[in-house]
Protein backbone atom coordinates (compact mmCIF):
# COMPACT_ATOMS: atom_id res chain seq x y z
CA UNK A 1 0.00 0.00 0.00
CA UNK A 2 1.25 3.44 -0.83
CA UNK A 3 1.87 5.71 2.14
CA UNK A 4 0.37 8.70 0.42
CA UNK A 5 -1.55 8.96 -2.80
CA UNK A 6 -2.86 12.17 -4.26
CA UNK A 7 -4.66 12.71 -7.53
CA UNK A 8 -5.13 16.10 -9.14
CA UNK A 9 -4.83 17.74 -5.74
CA UNK A 10 -5.54 21.44 -6.09
CA UNK A 11 -5.86 24.11 -3.42
CA UNK A 12 -6.79 27.65 -4.30
CA UNK A 13 -6.96 30.46 -1.82
CA UNK A 14 -8.72 33.59 -3.01
CA UNK A 15 -5.75 34.99 -4.90
CA UNK A 16 -3.17 32.20 -4.77
CA UNK A 17 -3.04 28.69 -6.11
CA UNK A 18 -1.08 26.81 -3.48
CA UNK A 19 -1.36 23.37 -5.08
CA UNK A 20 -1.99 22.88 -8.76
CA UNK A 21 -3.15 19.42 -9.77
CA UNK A 22 -0.62 17.55 -7.69
CA UNK A 23 -0.59 13.83 -8.39
CA UNK A 24 1.88 11.68 -6.53
CA UNK A 25 2.38 8.35 -4.87
CA UNK A 26 4.74 7.98 -1.96
CA UNK A 27 6.12 4.64 -0.84
CA UNK A 28 7.03 3.95 2.81
CA UNK A 29 10.46 5.13 3.92
CA UNK A 30 12.10 8.43 4.69
CA UNK A 31 11.01 10.85 2.03
CA UNK A 32 12.30 14.36 1.51
CA UNK A 33 9.87 17.07 0.48
CA UNK A 34 11.72 19.84 -1.26
CA UNK A 35 10.67 23.07 -2.81
CA UNK A 36 11.26 26.79 -2.51
CA UNK A 37 9.30 28.85 -0.01
CA UNK A 38 5.68 29.10 -1.06
CA UNK A 39 5.92 25.97 -3.20
CA UNK A 40 2.98 24.45 -1.35
CA UNK A 41 4.83 22.16 1.07
CA UNK A 42 2.94 23.34 4.16
CA UNK A 43 -0.38 23.36 2.35
CA UNK A 44 0.25 19.79 1.22
CA UNK A 45 1.02 18.69 4.79
CA UNK A 46 -2.11 20.41 6.12
CA UNK A 47 -4.28 18.74 3.49
CA UNK A 48 -2.73 15.37 4.28
CA UNK A 49 -3.47 15.92 7.98
CA UNK A 50 -7.08 16.67 7.08
CA UNK A 51 -6.84 20.21 8.46
CA UNK A 52 -7.50 22.00 5.19
CA UNK A 53 -9.90 20.87 2.51
CA UNK A 54 -8.68 20.66 -1.06
CA UNK A 55 -10.40 22.72 -3.73
CA UNK A 56 -10.41 19.64 -5.96
CA UNK A 57 -8.68 16.33 -6.27
CA UNK A 58 -8.17 13.64 -3.66
CA UNK A 59 -5.60 12.72 -1.05
CA UNK A 60 -5.17 9.41 0.74
CA UNK A 61 -2.90 8.87 3.71
CA UNK A 62 -2.30 5.31 4.98
CA UNK A 63 -5.22 4.27 2.81
CA UNK A 64 -7.56 6.79 4.48
CA UNK A 65 -9.26 9.68 2.75
CA UNK A 66 -7.64 12.75 4.32
CA UNK A 67 -10.69 14.95 3.77
CA UNK A 68 -13.33 12.60 5.21
CA UNK A 69 -11.29 10.57 7.68
CA UNK A 70 -9.03 13.26 9.07
CA UNK A 71 -9.56 12.09 12.65
CA UNK A 72 -8.38 8.57 11.83
CA UNK A 73 -5.45 9.90 9.88
CA UNK A 74 -4.39 12.14 12.76
CA UNK A 75 -4.62 9.23 15.18
CA UNK A 76 -1.92 7.41 13.21
CA UNK A 77 0.22 10.32 12.09
CA UNK A 78 2.61 12.61 13.95
CA UNK A 79 3.34 16.20 13.03
CA UNK A 80 6.24 18.45 13.93
CA UNK A 81 5.63 21.99 12.70
CA UNK A 82 8.37 24.27 11.50
CA UNK A 83 7.57 27.06 13.92
CA UNK A 84 7.81 27.24 17.71
CA UNK A 85 4.83 25.48 19.22
CA UNK A 86 5.69 24.66 22.83
CA UNK A 87 4.08 26.22 25.88
CA UNK A 88 6.91 27.86 27.84
CA UNK A 89 5.38 27.34 31.28
CA UNK A 90 5.15 23.55 31.21
CA UNK A 91 7.78 20.88 31.67
CA UNK A 92 8.63 18.77 28.64
CA UNK A 93 7.41 15.69 30.50
CA UNK A 94 4.01 17.09 31.34
CA UNK A 95 3.54 18.53 27.90
CA UNK A 96 4.44 15.32 26.08
CA UNK A 97 2.21 13.28 28.41
CA UNK A 98 -0.62 15.66 27.64
CA UNK A 99 -0.01 15.39 23.90
CA UNK A 100 -0.03 11.58 24.18
CA UNK A 101 -3.42 11.78 25.84
CA UNK A 102 -4.61 14.13 23.12
CA UNK A 103 -3.82 11.31 20.72
CA UNK A 104 -5.97 8.90 22.70
CA UNK A 105 -3.29 7.15 24.78
CA UNK A 106 -4.62 6.25 28.29
CA UNK A 107 -2.98 8.07 31.23
CA UNK A 108 -0.63 5.37 32.51
CA UNK A 109 0.57 4.47 29.03
CA UNK A 110 0.91 8.18 28.23
CA UNK A 111 3.42 8.59 31.05
CA UNK A 112 5.44 5.59 29.93
CA UNK A 113 5.43 6.66 26.32
CA UNK A 114 6.45 10.22 27.20
CA UNK A 115 9.41 8.98 29.22
CA UNK A 116 10.33 6.62 26.42
CA UNK A 117 10.29 9.15 23.59
CA UNK A 118 11.97 11.89 25.63
CA UNK A 119 14.77 9.47 26.34
CA UNK A 120 14.88 8.55 22.68
CA UNK A 121 15.30 12.16 21.59
CA UNK A 122 18.01 12.61 24.22
CA UNK A 123 16.31 14.59 26.99
CA UNK A 124 17.03 13.28 30.45
CA UNK A 125 16.97 15.22 33.72
CA UNK A 126 16.15 18.44 31.92
CA UNK A 127 12.78 17.08 30.90
CA UNK A 128 11.35 18.14 34.26
CA UNK A 129 12.27 21.79 33.67
CA UNK A 130 10.01 24.30 32.02
CA UNK A 131 10.34 24.37 28.24
CA UNK A 132 10.69 28.14 28.33
CA UNK A 133 14.30 27.80 29.48
CA UNK A 134 15.33 25.32 26.76
CA UNK A 135 17.81 25.90 23.96
CA UNK A 136 16.58 25.71 20.38
CA UNK A 137 18.07 22.23 20.07
CA UNK A 138 16.21 20.97 23.12
CA UNK A 139 12.98 22.52 21.91
CA UNK A 140 13.33 20.79 18.56
CA UNK A 141 13.77 17.51 20.43
CA UNK A 142 10.61 18.07 22.44
CA UNK A 143 8.78 18.91 19.23
CA UNK A 144 9.95 15.63 17.76
CA UNK A 145 9.04 13.77 20.96
CA UNK A 146 5.46 15.03 20.95
CA UNK A 147 5.11 13.93 17.32
CA UNK A 148 6.38 10.46 18.18
CA UNK A 149 4.71 9.88 21.52
CA UNK A 150 1.67 8.04 20.16
CA UNK A 151 3.85 5.73 18.05
CA UNK A 152 2.60 6.96 14.68
CA UNK A 153 3.00 5.06 11.43
CA UNK A 154 3.92 8.22 9.60
CA UNK A 155 5.65 11.41 10.70
CA UNK A 156 5.50 14.80 9.04
CA UNK A 157 8.58 16.80 9.94
CA UNK A 158 8.50 20.37 8.71
CA UNK A 159 12.05 21.72 8.54
CA UNK A 160 13.22 19.78 11.62
CA UNK A 161 16.69 21.34 11.56
CA UNK A 162 15.43 24.89 11.41
CA UNK A 163 17.41 27.24 13.64
CA UNK A 164 19.95 24.61 14.74
CA UNK A 165 23.71 25.02 14.76
CA UNK A 166 25.77 22.53 12.69
CA UNK A 167 26.16 20.11 15.57
CA UNK A 168 22.49 20.28 16.51
CA UNK A 169 21.67 19.77 12.86
CA UNK A 170 23.78 16.62 12.73
CA UNK A 171 22.18 15.25 15.87
CA UNK A 172 18.67 15.98 14.64
CA UNK A 173 19.37 14.31 11.29
CA UNK A 174 20.75 11.26 13.09
CA UNK A 175 17.60 11.13 15.19
CA UNK A 176 15.44 11.38 12.10
CA UNK A 177 17.41 8.63 10.39
CA UNK A 178 17.18 6.37 13.45
CA UNK A 179 13.48 7.02 13.83
CA UNK A 180 12.92 6.05 10.23
CA UNK A 181 15.31 3.15 9.91
CA UNK A 182 15.24 1.48 13.32
CA UNK A 183 11.63 2.01 14.34
CA UNK A 184 10.11 1.54 10.94
CA UNK A 185 8.19 4.81 11.07
CA UNK A 186 7.78 6.39 7.68
CA UNK A 187 8.79 10.03 7.51
CA UNK A 188 7.99 12.91 5.23
CA UNK A 189 10.61 15.54 5.96
CA UNK A 190 10.55 18.92 4.36
CA UNK A 191 13.74 20.88 4.03
CA UNK A 192 15.20 23.47 1.78
CA UNK A 193 18.67 21.96 2.18
CA UNK A 194 19.22 19.22 -0.35
CA UNK A 195 22.30 17.99 1.46
CA UNK A 196 20.13 17.13 4.47
CA UNK A 197 17.60 15.33 2.36
CA UNK A 198 20.33 13.40 0.64
CA UNK A 199 21.84 12.39 3.93
CA UNK A 200 18.80 10.83 5.57
CA UNK A 201 16.11 10.30 2.96
CA UNK A 202 15.67 7.46 0.54
CA UNK A 203 12.87 9.05 -1.43
CA UNK A 204 12.32 12.52 -2.76
CA UNK A 205 9.42 14.71 -3.77
CA UNK A 206 10.16 18.04 -5.37
CA UNK A 207 7.33 20.51 -5.73
CA UNK A 208 7.40 23.97 -7.12
CA UNK A 209 4.52 26.43 -7.52
CA UNK A 210 2.16 23.73 -6.27
CA UNK A 211 3.10 21.23 -8.97
CA UNK A 212 5.19 18.09 -8.87
CA UNK A 213 8.62 18.62 -10.38
CA UNK A 214 10.21 15.30 -9.59
CA UNK A 215 9.70 12.23 -7.48
CA UNK A 216 11.48 8.94 -6.97
CA UNK A 217 14.12 7.11 -5.00
CA UNK A 218 17.12 9.27 -4.32
CA UNK A 219 19.44 6.49 -5.51
CA UNK A 220 17.73 6.45 -8.89
CA UNK A 221 17.64 10.21 -9.19
CA UNK A 222 21.33 10.57 -8.50
CA UNK A 223 22.14 7.59 -10.67
CA UNK A 224 20.43 8.76 -13.80
CA UNK A 225 22.99 11.47 -14.47
CA UNK A 226 25.97 9.45 -13.33
CA UNK A 227 29.33 10.26 -14.83
CA UNK A 228 32.52 8.29 -14.99
CA UNK A 229 35.43 9.76 -13.10
CA UNK A 230 38.86 8.85 -14.49
CA UNK A 231 41.79 9.78 -12.34
CA UNK A 232 45.31 9.57 -13.72
CA UNK A 233 48.66 10.45 -12.17
CA UNK A 234 49.47 13.09 -14.75
CA UNK A 235 48.60 14.45 -18.17
CA UNK A 236 44.86 14.54 -17.55
CA UNK A 237 44.65 17.28 -20.19
CA UNK A 238 46.03 15.02 -22.91
CA UNK A 239 43.60 12.28 -21.93
CA UNK A 240 40.71 14.74 -22.09
CA UNK A 241 41.77 15.91 -25.55
CA UNK A 242 42.04 12.35 -26.86
CA UNK A 243 38.66 11.37 -25.44
CA UNK A 244 37.09 14.46 -26.97
CA UNK A 245 38.58 13.44 -30.31
CA UNK A 246 36.92 10.09 -29.93
CA UNK A 247 33.53 11.77 -29.54
CA UNK A 248 32.96 11.78 -25.77
CA UNK A 249 31.63 14.61 -23.60
CA UNK A 250 34.59 15.32 -21.35
CA UNK A 251 35.54 17.72 -18.63
CA UNK A 252 39.00 17.86 -17.08
CA UNK A 253 39.18 18.76 -13.39
CA UNK A 254 42.77 18.70 -12.15
CA UNK A 255 43.96 15.11 -12.29
CA UNK A 256 40.48 13.81 -12.92
CA UNK A 257 38.62 13.61 -16.17
CA UNK A 258 34.85 13.38 -15.97
CA UNK A 259 33.18 11.59 -18.80
CA UNK A 260 29.46 11.72 -19.34
CA UNK A 261 28.16 8.22 -19.92
CA UNK A 262 24.55 8.60 -20.84
CA UNK A 263 22.84 5.25 -20.57
CA UNK A 264 25.99 3.77 -19.10
CA UNK A 265 27.04 2.17 -22.40
CA UNK A 266 29.90 -0.30 -22.04
CA UNK A 267 31.60 1.19 -25.05
CA UNK A 268 32.49 4.24 -23.02
CA UNK A 269 34.53 2.18 -20.59
CA UNK A 270 36.44 0.53 -23.42
CA UNK A 271 37.11 3.85 -25.11
CA UNK A 272 38.48 5.30 -21.87
CA UNK A 273 40.69 2.32 -21.10
CA UNK A 274 41.91 2.27 -24.66
CA UNK A 275 42.82 5.96 -24.47
CA UNK A 276 44.64 5.49 -21.16
CA UNK A 277 46.67 2.65 -22.61
CA UNK A 278 47.43 4.57 -25.81
CA UNK A 279 48.80 7.49 -23.80
CA UNK A 280 50.56 5.14 -21.37
CA UNK A 281 49.16 6.96 -18.37
CA UNK A 282 49.13 5.47 -14.89
CA UNK A 283 45.43 4.98 -14.06
CA UNK A 284 44.55 5.69 -10.42
CA UNK A 285 40.82 5.23 -10.47
CA UNK A 286 37.94 4.69 -12.84
CA UNK A 287 34.52 4.77 -11.24
CA UNK A 288 30.96 5.87 -11.60
CA UNK A 289 30.45 9.06 -9.73
CA UNK A 290 26.99 9.70 -8.30
CA UNK A 291 25.95 13.23 -8.65
CA UNK A 292 24.75 15.08 -5.60
CA UNK A 293 21.20 16.33 -5.51
CA UNK A 294 22.48 19.87 -5.74
CA UNK A 295 23.98 19.15 -9.12
CA UNK A 296 20.80 17.44 -10.14
CA UNK A 297 18.87 20.61 -9.52
CA UNK A 298 21.25 22.92 -11.26
CA UNK A 299 19.55 22.61 -14.67
CA UNK A 300 16.08 22.79 -13.13
CA UNK A 301 16.92 26.04 -11.39
CA UNK A 302 18.34 27.53 -14.55
CA UNK A 303 15.23 26.62 -16.50
CA UNK A 304 13.09 28.26 -13.86
CA UNK A 305 15.16 31.39 -14.02
CA UNK A 306 14.60 31.61 -17.75
CA UNK A 307 10.84 31.32 -17.42
CA UNK A 308 9.54 34.83 -18.04
CA UNK A 309 7.32 36.42 -15.42
CA UNK A 310 6.99 35.18 -11.86
CA UNK A 311 3.27 34.94 -11.34
CA UNK A 312 3.37 32.63 -8.33
Amino acid sequence: MALIETAGLTKRYSAVTALDGLTLEVEPGIVGLVGPNGAGKSTLIKILLGLVGATSGSAEVLGLDAAREGLKVRERVGYMPEHDCLPPDQSATNFVIHMARMSGIPPSHARERAAEVLRHVGLFEERYRHVGGYSTGMKQRVKLAQALVHDPELLFLDEPTNGLDPQGRDEMLDLVARTGNEFGISIIMSSHLLSEIERVCDGLIVIESGALMRTGRIAELTDETAVLAVEVEWDADRLAALLTDRGLDVQALGRTVEVASAGGADGVHDTILDAVVTLELPLVRLERRRRTLEELFQPATETTAETPGDDA
Partner: protein
Protein backbone atom coordinates in the same frame (compact mmCIF):
# COMPACT_ATOMS: atom_id res chain seq x y z
CA UNK B 1 35.22 -5.88 37.84
CA UNK B 2 37.18 -2.97 36.56
CA UNK B 3 36.25 0.55 37.51
CA UNK B 4 33.18 1.51 35.55
CA UNK B 5 33.91 3.94 32.76
CA UNK B 6 31.29 6.70 32.80
CA UNK B 7 29.11 5.79 29.85
CA UNK B 8 28.51 8.50 27.28
CA UNK B 9 25.31 10.27 28.21
CA UNK B 10 22.36 8.46 26.74
CA UNK B 11 23.97 5.21 25.76
CA UNK B 12 23.38 3.53 29.09
CA UNK B 13 19.71 4.39 29.03
CA UNK B 14 19.22 3.40 25.44
CA UNK B 15 17.05 0.33 25.64
CA UNK B 16 15.88 0.73 22.05
CA UNK B 17 12.61 2.07 20.84
CA UNK B 18 9.44 0.22 21.61
CA UNK B 19 6.25 0.62 19.68
CA UNK B 20 2.90 1.11 21.33
CA UNK B 21 0.38 -1.69 21.06
CA UNK B 22 -2.01 -0.54 23.77
CA UNK B 23 -5.47 0.97 23.40
CA UNK B 24 -6.16 4.24 21.61
CA UNK B 25 -9.20 5.83 23.15
CA UNK B 26 -10.08 8.32 20.44
CA UNK B 27 -11.74 11.67 20.20
CA UNK B 28 -13.95 11.82 23.29
CA UNK B 29 -11.12 10.76 25.57
CA UNK B 30 -8.79 13.30 23.94
CA UNK B 31 -11.39 15.98 24.50
CA UNK B 32 -11.85 14.95 28.11
CA UNK B 33 -8.07 15.22 28.55
CA UNK B 34 -8.06 18.69 27.05
CA UNK B 35 -10.96 19.71 29.26
CA UNK B 36 -9.28 18.37 32.41
CA UNK B 37 -6.00 20.07 31.64
CA UNK B 38 -7.82 23.33 30.99
CA UNK B 39 -9.67 23.15 34.31
CA UNK B 40 -6.39 22.41 36.08
CA UNK B 41 -4.78 25.35 34.30
CA UNK B 42 -7.67 27.58 35.32
CA UNK B 43 -6.81 26.95 38.96
CA UNK B 44 -3.10 27.19 38.34
CA UNK B 45 -2.48 23.50 39.05
CA UNK B 46 0.67 22.38 37.28
CA UNK B 47 1.66 25.98 36.79
CA UNK B 48 3.49 28.53 38.91
CA UNK B 49 2.54 29.91 42.30
CA UNK B 50 0.99 33.14 41.03
CA UNK B 51 -1.85 31.60 38.99
CA UNK B 52 -2.72 29.40 41.98
CA UNK B 53 -2.79 32.33 44.39
CA UNK B 54 -4.90 34.36 41.99
CA UNK B 55 -7.43 31.62 41.26
CA UNK B 56 -7.81 30.34 44.81
CA UNK B 57 -7.85 33.89 46.17
CA UNK B 58 -10.84 34.65 43.98
CA UNK B 59 -12.51 31.40 45.03
CA UNK B 60 -11.99 32.46 48.62
CA UNK B 61 -13.61 35.83 47.95
CA UNK B 62 -16.53 34.09 46.28
CA UNK B 63 -17.03 32.03 49.44
CA UNK B 64 -16.93 35.07 51.71
CA UNK B 65 -20.69 35.76 51.78
CA UNK B 66 -21.34 32.10 52.58
CA UNK B 67 -18.78 32.11 55.37
CA UNK B 68 -20.09 35.38 56.80
CA UNK B 69 -23.64 34.05 56.74
CA UNK B 70 -22.60 30.89 58.54
CA UNK B 71 -20.62 32.74 61.20
CA UNK B 72 -23.37 35.24 61.87
CA UNK B 73 -25.88 32.40 61.90
CA UNK B 74 -23.80 30.64 64.55
CA UNK B 75 -23.42 33.75 66.70
CA UNK B 76 -26.96 35.06 66.37
CA UNK B 77 -29.27 32.12 66.89
CA UNK B 78 -32.40 33.02 65.02
CA UNK B 79 -34.48 30.74 62.84
CA UNK B 80 -34.96 31.83 59.25
CA UNK B 81 -32.40 34.57 59.51
CA UNK B 82 -29.83 34.72 56.76
CA UNK B 83 -27.41 37.56 56.22
CA UNK B 84 -27.21 36.75 52.52
CA UNK B 85 -30.02 34.97 50.73
CA UNK B 86 -29.37 32.48 47.92
CA UNK B 87 -31.22 34.64 45.40
CA UNK B 88 -28.85 37.56 46.00
CA UNK B 89 -25.67 35.55 46.15
CA UNK B 90 -24.55 35.76 42.52
CA UNK B 91 -25.28 39.46 42.35
CA UNK B 92 -23.07 40.01 45.40
CA UNK B 93 -20.07 38.25 43.95
CA UNK B 94 -20.58 39.44 40.38
CA UNK B 95 -17.42 41.49 40.47
CA UNK B 96 -15.34 38.51 41.64
CA UNK B 97 -16.80 36.33 38.91
CA UNK B 98 -15.96 38.81 36.18
CA UNK B 99 -12.41 39.20 37.47
CA UNK B 100 -12.05 35.41 37.53
CA UNK B 101 -13.29 35.16 33.94
CA UNK B 102 -11.02 38.00 32.88
CA UNK B 103 -7.97 36.46 34.51
CA UNK B 104 -8.54 32.87 33.38
CA UNK B 105 -10.08 33.12 29.90
CA UNK B 106 -6.95 34.55 28.37
CA UNK B 107 -4.84 31.77 29.86
CA UNK B 108 -7.18 29.13 28.53
CA UNK B 109 -7.29 30.19 24.90
CA UNK B 110 -4.63 32.85 24.58
CA UNK B 111 -1.67 30.80 25.74
CA UNK B 112 -2.12 28.09 23.12
CA UNK B 113 -2.48 30.74 20.47
CA UNK B 114 0.49 32.79 21.61
CA UNK B 115 2.82 29.82 21.91
CA UNK B 116 1.33 28.41 18.68
CA UNK B 117 0.53 25.14 20.40
CA UNK B 118 -2.81 25.16 18.58
CA UNK B 119 -1.09 23.59 15.59
CA UNK B 120 -0.23 20.58 17.74
CA UNK B 121 -3.75 20.25 19.11
CA UNK B 122 -5.22 20.39 15.63
CA UNK B 123 -2.85 17.66 14.44
CA UNK B 124 -4.45 15.38 17.04
CA UNK B 125 -7.59 13.25 16.55
CA UNK B 126 -9.96 16.06 17.58
CA UNK B 127 -11.82 18.64 15.51
CA UNK B 128 -11.32 22.36 15.85
CA UNK B 129 -14.88 22.80 17.11
CA UNK B 130 -14.07 20.33 19.87
CA UNK B 131 -11.18 22.44 21.02
CA UNK B 132 -13.28 25.60 21.21
CA UNK B 133 -16.12 23.92 23.07
CA UNK B 134 -13.76 22.16 25.51
CA UNK B 135 -12.31 25.54 26.46
CA UNK B 136 -15.75 27.08 27.03
CA UNK B 137 -16.76 24.03 29.07
CA UNK B 138 -13.58 24.31 31.13
CA UNK B 139 -14.13 27.97 32.00
CA UNK B 140 -17.84 27.47 32.66
CA UNK B 141 -17.30 24.53 34.97
CA UNK B 142 -14.46 26.27 36.77
CA UNK B 143 -16.96 28.99 37.56
CA UNK B 144 -19.12 26.40 39.33
CA UNK B 145 -16.53 26.43 42.11
CA UNK B 146 -17.28 30.11 42.64
CA UNK B 147 -21.06 29.99 42.30
CA UNK B 148 -22.92 26.76 42.99
CA UNK B 149 -20.30 25.44 45.39
CA UNK B 150 -20.44 28.30 47.92
CA UNK B 151 -24.23 28.19 47.72
CA UNK B 152 -24.15 24.50 48.56
CA UNK B 153 -21.81 25.14 51.44
CA UNK B 154 -24.03 27.92 52.72
CA UNK B 155 -27.11 25.70 52.40
CA UNK B 156 -25.46 22.81 54.23
CA UNK B 157 -24.09 25.13 56.92
CA UNK B 158 -27.44 26.79 57.47
CA UNK B 159 -29.12 23.42 57.73
CA UNK B 160 -26.58 22.11 60.22
CA UNK B 161 -26.81 25.30 62.28
CA UNK B 162 -30.63 25.19 62.47
CA UNK B 163 -32.35 23.82 65.54
CA UNK B 164 -33.77 21.04 63.45
CA UNK B 165 -31.54 20.47 60.44
CA UNK B 166 -33.92 18.19 58.58
CA UNK B 167 -36.85 20.55 58.96
CA UNK B 168 -34.77 23.47 57.81
CA UNK B 169 -33.50 21.60 54.80
CA UNK B 170 -37.01 20.49 53.92
CA UNK B 171 -38.42 24.01 54.26
CA UNK B 172 -35.71 25.50 52.11
CA UNK B 173 -35.29 22.60 49.67
CA UNK B 174 -36.69 24.73 46.84
CA UNK B 175 -33.58 26.86 46.93
CA UNK B 176 -31.30 24.05 45.82
CA UNK B 177 -32.60 23.50 42.27
CA UNK B 178 -32.95 27.26 41.99
CA UNK B 179 -29.41 28.18 42.86
CA UNK B 180 -28.09 25.24 40.85
CA UNK B 181 -30.07 26.15 37.72
CA UNK B 182 -29.45 29.89 37.92
CA UNK B 183 -25.80 29.28 38.78
CA UNK B 184 -25.27 26.97 35.82
CA UNK B 185 -26.90 29.43 33.44
CA UNK B 186 -24.63 32.14 34.78
CA UNK B 187 -21.57 29.89 34.38
CA UNK B 188 -22.18 29.05 30.72
CA UNK B 189 -23.00 32.69 29.91
CA UNK B 190 -19.90 34.05 31.58
CA UNK B 191 -17.81 31.16 30.26
CA UNK B 192 -18.92 31.61 26.67
CA UNK B 193 -18.49 35.38 26.73
CA UNK B 194 -15.12 35.19 28.45
CA UNK B 195 -13.68 32.73 25.93
CA UNK B 196 -15.18 34.75 23.10
CA UNK B 197 -13.48 37.96 24.18
CA UNK B 198 -10.20 36.24 25.02
CA UNK B 199 -10.08 34.45 21.68
CA UNK B 200 -10.13 37.79 19.89
CA UNK B 201 -7.79 39.68 22.22
CA UNK B 202 -4.30 38.51 21.33
CA UNK B 203 -2.50 39.98 24.29
CA UNK B 204 -3.17 38.84 27.81
CA UNK B 205 -3.50 42.30 29.35
CA UNK B 206 -5.80 43.37 26.56
CA UNK B 207 -7.98 40.30 27.06
CA UNK B 208 -8.20 41.00 30.77
CA UNK B 209 -9.18 44.61 30.32
CA UNK B 210 -11.64 43.76 27.53
CA UNK B 211 -13.52 41.25 29.64
CA UNK B 212 -13.84 43.64 32.57
CA UNK B 213 -14.78 46.48 30.25
CA UNK B 214 -17.42 44.60 28.32
CA UNK B 215 -19.18 43.41 31.47
CA UNK B 216 -18.79 46.55 33.53
CA UNK B 217 -19.15 49.21 30.89
CA UNK B 218 -22.24 47.67 29.34
CA UNK B 219 -23.87 47.60 32.79
CA UNK B 220 -23.83 51.38 33.54
CA UNK B 221 -24.16 52.39 29.89
CA UNK B 222 -27.31 50.35 29.43
CA UNK B 223 -28.45 51.47 32.88
CA UNK B 224 -28.13 55.12 31.86
CA UNK B 225 -29.80 54.55 28.50
CA UNK B 226 -32.77 52.99 30.29
CA UNK B 227 -33.05 55.70 32.89
CA UNK B 228 -32.36 58.74 30.72
CA UNK B 229 -33.87 58.09 27.31
CA UNK B 230 -37.56 58.65 27.46
CA UNK B 231 -38.83 55.89 25.24
CA UNK B 232 -40.20 52.46 25.99
CA UNK B 233 -38.19 51.05 23.12
CA UNK B 234 -34.96 51.43 25.08
CA UNK B 235 -35.96 48.41 27.13
CA UNK B 236 -34.49 46.25 24.35
CA UNK B 237 -31.10 47.66 25.26
CA UNK B 238 -31.17 45.51 28.40
CA UNK B 239 -30.35 42.45 26.28
CA UNK B 240 -27.02 44.05 25.41
CA UNK B 241 -25.87 44.03 29.01
CA UNK B 242 -24.88 40.51 30.09
CA UNK B 243 -25.08 41.42 33.76
CA UNK B 244 -28.67 42.70 33.42
CA UNK B 245 -29.59 39.54 31.55
CA UNK B 246 -27.99 37.20 34.06
CA UNK B 247 -29.55 39.02 37.02
CA UNK B 248 -32.92 38.81 35.28
CA UNK B 249 -32.41 35.11 34.75
CA UNK B 250 -31.56 34.45 38.40
CA UNK B 251 -34.46 36.59 39.60
CA UNK B 252 -36.86 34.71 37.31
CA UNK B 253 -35.65 31.34 38.58
CA UNK B 254 -36.03 32.44 42.22
CA UNK B 255 -39.35 34.01 41.31
CA UNK B 256 -37.93 37.25 42.71
CA UNK B 257 -38.50 39.86 40.02
CA UNK B 258 -39.53 42.92 42.05
CA UNK B 259 -42.72 44.92 41.73
CA UNK B 260 -42.46 47.88 39.38
CA UNK B 261 -42.80 51.33 40.89
CA UNK B 262 -42.01 54.85 39.78
CA UNK B 263 -38.35 54.48 40.78
CA UNK B 264 -37.73 51.19 39.00
CA UNK B 265 -36.50 52.76 35.83
CA UNK B 266 -33.73 54.56 37.66
CA UNK B 267 -33.15 51.78 40.11
CA UNK B 268 -30.63 48.97 40.23
CA UNK B 269 -30.29 46.50 37.35
CA UNK B 270 -32.91 44.12 38.65
CA UNK B 271 -35.44 46.97 39.06
CA UNK B 272 -34.74 47.99 35.46
CA UNK B 273 -35.29 44.41 34.36
CA UNK B 274 -38.64 44.47 36.14
CA UNK B 275 -39.49 47.80 34.54
CA UNK B 276 -38.83 46.46 31.03
CA UNK B 277 -41.80 44.18 31.58
CA UNK B 278 -40.82 41.38 29.21
CA UNK B 279 -42.28 38.00 30.02
CA UNK B 280 -39.87 37.05 32.75
CA UNK B 281 -38.94 33.68 31.23
CA UNK B 282 -37.10 35.54 28.45
CA UNK B 283 -34.26 36.31 30.85
CA UNK B 284 -32.88 32.80 31.29
CA UNK B 285 -33.49 32.24 27.58
CA UNK B 286 -31.64 35.45 26.71
CA UNK B 287 -28.81 34.38 28.97
CA UNK B 288 -28.54 31.01 27.25
CA UNK B 289 -28.77 32.78 23.89
CA UNK B 290 -25.77 34.89 24.86
CA UNK B 291 -23.91 31.68 25.71
CA UNK B 292 -24.94 30.02 22.44
CA UNK B 293 -24.06 33.00 20.26
CA UNK B 294 -20.72 33.43 21.99
CA UNK B 295 -19.93 29.72 21.55
CA UNK B 296 -20.86 29.84 17.88
CA UNK B 297 -18.55 32.78 17.26
CA UNK B 298 -15.72 31.10 19.18
CA UNK B 299 -16.13 27.94 17.09
CA UNK B 300 -16.00 30.00 13.91
CA UNK B 301 -12.94 31.79 15.19
CA UNK B 302 -11.06 28.54 15.71
CA UNK B 303 -12.17 27.08 12.39
CA UNK B 304 -10.40 29.94 10.71
CA UNK B 305 -7.13 29.50 12.54
CA UNK B 306 -4.16 27.45 11.31
Amino acid sequence: MTTPEPAPSGAIYDLGYQGYEGPRLGRLYALWSLYLLSVRNAFGIGRGALPKVLAFGLVLFAFTPAVVTLIVGAVVPAEDFQVFAPKDYYGLIQFILVIFVAAIASDLVGNDRRSRTLALYFSRPIERDDYALAKIAALSSSLVALTVLPQLVMFAGNALGAANSLDWARDNADDVPRFVASGLILCVTFGGLGILIASYAERRAFALISVVAIFFISLPVVGIIISEIDSDQVRWALFLSPLHVVEGSTAYIFDAIPEVDEFSRRGDPIAQVAWADFPSYVWPLASLAWAAIASAIVVRRFRGSI
